[in-house]
């Protein structure tokens, strides 16, 4: 019998083996989830869309034929052709390149917002649900105020108050999304709180903070991931809307919503200007939504397999 297990760090392969041993169950669950997802057509479709978008965003500098902000007035508003797949805008910039770079911005917004709102919302919800009583009332009523406004309207108001910039738009959208996560996690935390392992942890001397972070939040994570996927889509939509009305990304940043905003002036004669960014928003949002839906079905233990 080994008297002590090998320390990770001293030997990289040993560390990896140890990681595999320690997480064998998670690894098996992960592959089982993958297997279930592969049998689910909408999951596959959503996954393919998300992956292509991520690929295009990452590979934009190599795939894009032109610099997205290079102005070429002689080619302004030219229709789609082999030279300019999606045509050009009123300054002669290549729309295909701009749309590809736009994917970087939109995906970054989506991830940042979900990261910020998901993190804060999860903690707030877990504390509210676990502590209960007055704390719960105060946290949830504050979040209800946020929730009582349509998210787009509130995000607009906030972004306008903070001043138009991409960073402020991200903060505004993140703020609006916090209650979605908090409500979900609070509901789950209410159930987790009553489980006997929480009582056992209290008797063993664990603090409330410890219990929230080691018992409550880990047990809520799978639903947070599902909601996160769905929120990415919604976020991209809201962020584009903010840019559309000039509250998000500022020129010359190639953001999809901002491109549509300018392009709509040319919609009658130059249909391609607003259409292609719009199509990319549509496809990306649909991709995240159907993948999120499928993920929820697959991760829900009651309807799993």
């Amino acid at each position: 019998m080994p008297s002590s297990t090998p320390r990770s760090g001293t030997d990289p392969t040993g560390g990896w083996r140890r990681f595999r041993e320690e997480h064998a169950w998670q690894i098996r669950e992960f592959f089982f989830t993958l297997h279930l997802l592969r049998r689910n057509p909408s999951a596959v479709a959503g996954f393919v869309i998300i992956c292509s978008m991520v690929f295009l965003a990452l590979a934009a500098p190599w795939v894009a034929p032109y610099d997205p902000i290079r102005i070429s007035l002689s080619e302004r508003l030219s229709p789609p052709s082999w030279h300019h797949l999606f045509g050009t805008d009123e300054l002669g910039r290549d729309l295909f390149s701009r749309v590809l770079y736009g994917a970087r911005i939109s995906l970054r917004i989506g991830l940042l917002v979900v990261g910020i709102a998901g993190g804060l919302g999860t903690i707030l919800g877990a504390v509210a649900g676990y502590v209960g009583g007055k704390t719960d009332d105060v946290i949830m009523r504050c979040l209800d105020i946020v929730l009582s406004f349509p998210s787009l309207v509130l995000a607009m108001a906030l972004a306008a108050a903070l001043g138009p910039s991409l960073r402020n738009a991200i903060l505004a959208v993140a703020f609006v999304m916090i209650p979605k996560f908090a409500r979900l996690v609070r509901g789950e935390a209410l159930a987790v709180r009553e489980r006997p392992f929480i009582a056992a942890a209290k008797v063993s001397g664990a603090s409330h903070t410890w219990i929230v972070f080691h018992h409550v939040i880990p047990n809520c994570l799978s639903s947070v991931i599902v909601l996160g996927t769905l929120v990415v889509g919604e976020t991209i939509l809201i962020a584009s809307s903010l840019s559309f009305i000039g509250l998000g990304a500022q020129p010359p940043t190639p953001e999809w919503g901002a491109m549509i905003s300018v392009g709509r002036k040319f919609l009658m004669d130059q249909w391609w200007y607003a259409t292609f960014p719009g199509l990319f928003i549509l496809v990306t949002v649909i991709g995240f939504n159907i993948f999120g839906d499928a993920l929820r079905d697959v991760l829900d233990p009651r309807i799993r397999r």
Binding site: R7, W25, R195, P196, F197, A200, V203, S204, P218
Partner: protein, 335 residues
């Protein structure tokens, strides 16, 4: 007077608000879960606490563990009032009193590795960290009959009996002196029950733990206990050493409990002697002796006065009017 006593409970009372509150927020009714319970547990001893479901036995456990605060009464650990402690002193004290719950599955976090589920009490109490935790978890698992590689698995990979072993390991790893077992075997198969009970007894023999063993199962209680307390509707009606209680039960309720145990004897095909009626609701506890509506030997005094506990033998205490004044009434002993 408290030489060799680990835990002493004095006059514990816990009422839960029941039903709707009145118009102005005043509670109309209370569920009297624990209604004046006193007992003590000596060093290295197992006190069995037996009673029907809903009689308040689990609530007594919760009160000792600090998971509920009693409305009245004291809990003394080696003479020190643990309810009066605050902050760090309270945490240090709590370490000495641990628990194993009924359902081994829900007592373990499905998303927590066994190593952490067993070792976290060391970390949160600042008793050990890093490799030292691993070493002690390994040693503790060995003690409850699990192998070192079980550390890196999740609860759902174990059988019910193994899960209960994990729970026992978690309870014992900080080196408590007193452990509450709240029906630890009633969710297990009969064959596994015996293994767990023997493990619990072995650990006591080796380490000298004191136990409060809560169960509704008389045969389990008989197997593990040194002394037994019988509870009915939030009160202890009889306390006696195990042999004494099972041979000469004094309280009519204890006798009824014993008679209700099916005997594995095909020759004695007599119907079980069952008590008339149901257990009254703990919201509407009968006046006088709370057992009187169902008692086969009820007297007039029982309907008016609550019987005080009287000592009827060495270490044998009964709260029943049958034994009042007479000291030792041989005529009333049933064969």
């Amino acid at each position: 007077m408290d030489e060799g006593v680990v835990i002493r409970a004095e006059g514990l009372r816990k009422y839960f608000p029941a039903g709707a509150s009145g118009l102005w927020g005043r509670r109309k009714a209370f569920l009297r879960a624990v209604d004046g319970v006193s007992f003590h547990v000596r060093e290295g001893e197992t006190l069995g606490l037996v009673g029907e479901s809903g009689c308040g036995k689990s609530t007594v456990g919760m009160l000792l563990l600090g998971l509920h605060r009693p409305d009245a009464g004291r809990v003394l650990y080696r003479g020190e009032d643990i309810l009066a402690l605050e902050g760090e002193a309270k945490r240090r004290m709590r370490r000495n009193i641990q628990v194993v719950f009924q359902d081994p599955q829900s007592s373990l976090d499905p998303r927590m590795l066994v190593k952490k589920a067993v070792g976290f009490p060391l970390e949160v109490n600042g008793l050990a960290r890093g490799a030292e935790v691993t070493r002690r978890v390994e040693a503790m698992l060995a003690e409850v009959g699990l192998r070192p590689e079980h550390m890196y698995r999740y609860p759902h990979e174990f059988s019910g009996g193994q899960r209960q072993r994990i729970n026992i390991a978690r309870a014992l790893i900080t080196g408590p002196r007193f452990v509450v077992f709240d029906e630890p075997t009633s969710a297990l198969d009969v064959s596994v029950q015996a293994q767990i009970l023997n493990l619990v007894k072995d650990l006591q023999k080796r380490r000298g733990y004191s136990y409060l063993f809560i169960s509704h199962d008389l045969s389990v209680i008989r197997h593990v206990s040194h002394r037994v307390a019988v509870m009915y509707l939030g009160r202890i009606v009889e306390t006696a050493p195990r042999g004494d209680l099972f041979q000469t039960p004094r309280h009519p309720y204890t006798r009824a409990l014993m008679a209700a145990v099916p005997k594995p004897d095909p020759a004695r095909r007599q119907p079980l002697a069952l008590l008339p009626g149901d257990v009254p609701s703990p919201v509407h506890i009968p006046p006088g002796c709370r057992f009187h509506p169902r008692c086969p030997e009820v007297m007039d005094v029982c309907r008016e006065t609550e019987p005080a506990p009287v000592e009827v033998g060495p270490d044998h205490v009964v709260a029943c009017h049958l034994w009042h004044g007479t000291g030792f009434d041989a005529r009333r002993r049933s064969a």
